[in-house]
Symmetry: C2
Subunit: 463 residues, 2 copies
């Protein structure tokens, strides 16, 4: 059979592309090897946020019914999406494993082993990623969890060690602590959410501590002793320095690996970089008319990145000569308590022509009425010019507040132009006004110094 476009993978990126192109009248074959919705719907964002929601406002310890409810909601959404995308005009949803056998040709292998070939002008690869698995010597399979197995647990474990203090590790520490699970979080890095600025990590770390989570930075799992249910741990570059007794399960959340095996990429000459399919600004791979988006590609990492780059692919398949435009700017949000969000650059060392504004988000009046603890906003602004280069928010509704930065930075609204915006009182957005006020207060009286720092920085950047 033949189509206009073959999309491999029905997760966030693939669905975006399939639905978008079908809207432009393209005949799309959408091939999925497992479940419609990808990791996000099935073992990622949806069950994790649902679990965070169901545990947010209770010390409810009935983990069995909560976990069942989470799966029920997830299955409902999955079934709904499967039906929706399975019955769309112009989208032919097929289950099977896809392999690119030639430019414009994909071989699909069914569950029973039979194969069939499909041809199309365009192929879009959106096969996503899987949890990175690292060995924990001695740990039996039934105690080794990743996000793929976590939500299938019948009840919350009594004691859970989470290996990895990134977004998944921190979110699940938050949720399972509320279910009554005793939690230890390990990470080779010296702090939680190591991609964030140290000040922001510190707020999250203190909050986890207050929630009873035992965080051990700079420590990794060494080996598990099944006879005593003990996990032996120590620094990355050293021997065992401690142990955790009575461990029921270990959740390994140390990053993702792209699902690029078995797709025939090497055979047809599609360039990859550490497993990720290399794409250009338009979403094109190194092979003509083969495109990629989402976690399998070099610009992936989140559901919204997959969506944004999927939209690029649609645009350039429909309008091949259109310019790509600047790369989309991606916010990143960890839905911990409090939420932690970033956008743009967060250099550990602030360049001399950048002003770093740090405000106590916990001091706004709504934080007072809602008895929020610590919260922080950090904004990096180019001196004198006022361009916003990056922002970090840890506190309530950070996911919404960072979105204001996303819109403003996309539209080059300098921070001085934020001044005069009326923020509703007493909303959490008041904190943005506080940050702008701090910026104006610190910049206006020193405009000559600001100009000199900017000019010097400009010269440096030009050199």
């Amino acid at each position: 059979m033949s189509a206009d476009v073959i999309v491999i993978g029905a997760g966030s990126g693939g669905l975006t592309v399939a639905v978008g192109l079908s809207g432009f009248g393209k005949k799309v074959v959408l091939i999925e090897g497992h479940h419609v919705g990808g990791d996000c719907t099935n073992v990622g964002c949806i069950p994790s946020k649902s679990l965070l929601h169901h545990t947010a406002h209770q010390d409810g310890r009935d983990s069995k019914s909560i976990l069942a409810k989470v799966r029920e909601r997830r299955d409902y959404l999955r079934d709904h999406e499967t039906e929706e995308f399975g019955s769309m005009d112009n989208v032919d949803l097929q289950f099977g494993r896809a392999k690119i056998v030639a430019p414009g040709e994909v071989e699909v292998t069914d569950a029973d082993g039979s194969t069939r070939n499909i041809t199309a002008k365009h192929i879009v690869v959106a096969t996503g990623s899987s949890a990175r698995r690292i060995p924990v010597p001695g740990l039996p399979d039934d105690r080794y969890l990743t996000n793929a197995e976590l939500f299938e647990q019948d009840t919350a474990p009594g004691k859970l060690v989470i290996v990895g203090a990134g977004p998944i590790g921190v979110e699940m520490a938050t949720a399972f602590a509320r279910l009554g699970t005793e939690i230890v979080v390990l990470d080779a890095a010296p702090r939680v959410l190591p991609a964030m600025l140290p000040e922001a990590s510190a707020v999250v770390a203190r909050s986890l501590d207050a929630q009873g989570v035992d965080v051990r930075p700079g420590i990794v799992a060494k080996r598990f002793d099944e006879a005593t249910n003990t996990l032996h741990v120590g620094p990355l570059d050293g021997g065992e320095t401690g142990s955790i007794a009575n461990v029921d399960k270990v959740l390994v959340a140390v990053g993702r690996v792209p699902n690029s095996e078995g797709l025939g990429l090497e055979e047809v000459g599609i360039e990859t970089e550490r497993g990720h399919i290399v794409i250009d600004d338009k979403g094109r791979t190194s092979l003509d008319n083969v495109w990629a988006c989402g976690d399998v590609a070099t610009e992936g990492g989140t559901t919204h990145a997959a969506n944004a780059w999927g939209r690029r692919v649609i645009k350039h398949i429909i309008a091949p000569v259109a310019p790509a435009g600047p790369k989309p700017l991606h916010p990143a949000v960890t839905y911990s308590n409090p939420e932690a969000a970033t956008i743009g650059e967060q250099p550990a060392e602030v360049p001399s022509d950048v002003k770093r504004i740090v405000v106590d988000y916990g001091a706004v009046d709504r934080a007072f009425t809602d008895e929020i603890g610590e919260a922080i906003i950090i904004v990096d602004v180019r001196r004198f010019r006022g361009d916003v280069l990056g922002a970090t928010i840890v506190g309530p509704r950070a996911g919404e507040l960072i979105s204001t930065f996303s819109l403003a930075m996309k539209n080059d609204i300098r921070f001085s132009k934020w001044y005069g915006t009326v923020w509703p009182y007493p909303s959490y957005a008041d904190a943005l006004g506080k940050a702008v006020d701090a910026y104006m207060r610190e910049s206006l009286p020193n405009v000559h110094k600001e100009f000199a720092a900017w000019a010097l920085g400009k010269l440096k950047r030009l050199r």
Copy 2:
């Protein structure tokens, strides 16, 4: 004694002006007749949001301890503010009743009846507003509440009739329903939050209904029969059509009246309009060097409006020749469940050159995981040009989402320029992306029609 500036009233507007001007080295005398913080801190935003917070995640019926806690937090903030502003350099906080006796001269009457006069070049009036009191024949004083008395109740009333379905009425219906109070809300208007679009009011009304609140639009209180604790009610232009038995208290929340009596305004020739001090774009009254901001003035209405206009007053006292610039755009938020927010224009009838985008905010994925019910976003966009004219949001975190509109509208970011912004998944801000997508989907294919509608509208507006 003399000063540079006399500020009358230590609420949101007055504090903004006093602190701001003192920062510029002005000697300020700040006169307060009651409590520092004004209605907002004492009987408004702070205790109401604190109460909403303390009742949000429980069916806790221990109203006595919750109300005590709310007062305790409020008193803490008031004391903190009194100390903070009482010990500032350049700000001389004095308690007493102020009256303008001549241009540049204010007479202050102490509690003991003694008076003293203060002179200054500038006078800023920021005396705020009070609850509008309407007669309810037969209702004894101890059953008649406004926001000034509400938070002083020892326990939640068993049955509370709220007269007025505006922001205060709706918020307090939400909070007291959670405390176990049986609630009936009356309003002369045909729907709750009558300043909002009917579709938005309907979402809030259904939500109140689901919370067990009995809303009776088009109905007002006629008389109270103390012998039977019965409130007789009926339509505004008619007789009694019904009654509510076993009423403990009646909360009257039918708007505000400016605190402009006794200030000597008429005597010195300061123009007022239905009690509000008339101000121009710079915050000036009709009398030279007398300024006003906040609820007592014509541009008041909210804490953030008082703050924004207070900032204008500061600017023009410091820099008299600076241009006023466009009037600040004020969002308005009701912190009900769900939150309800608006900004800009919301005409009941959509002009032909305006496209009204309506999206189901409840259909975003985060609303799914968090099991949010109904929610809605309405955006009015000038056809073809894409200028955002107004927005209405009813749903979770509406106060933060409307803030994105506040920033964007202030900076004239057309709605088409919102397209391409990456909204973090699965944040509530996703709903903004949904609205932008809907706009692009509906506008792009009809660009000729959109242009014609815009051009015709432009001609009409020019005529």
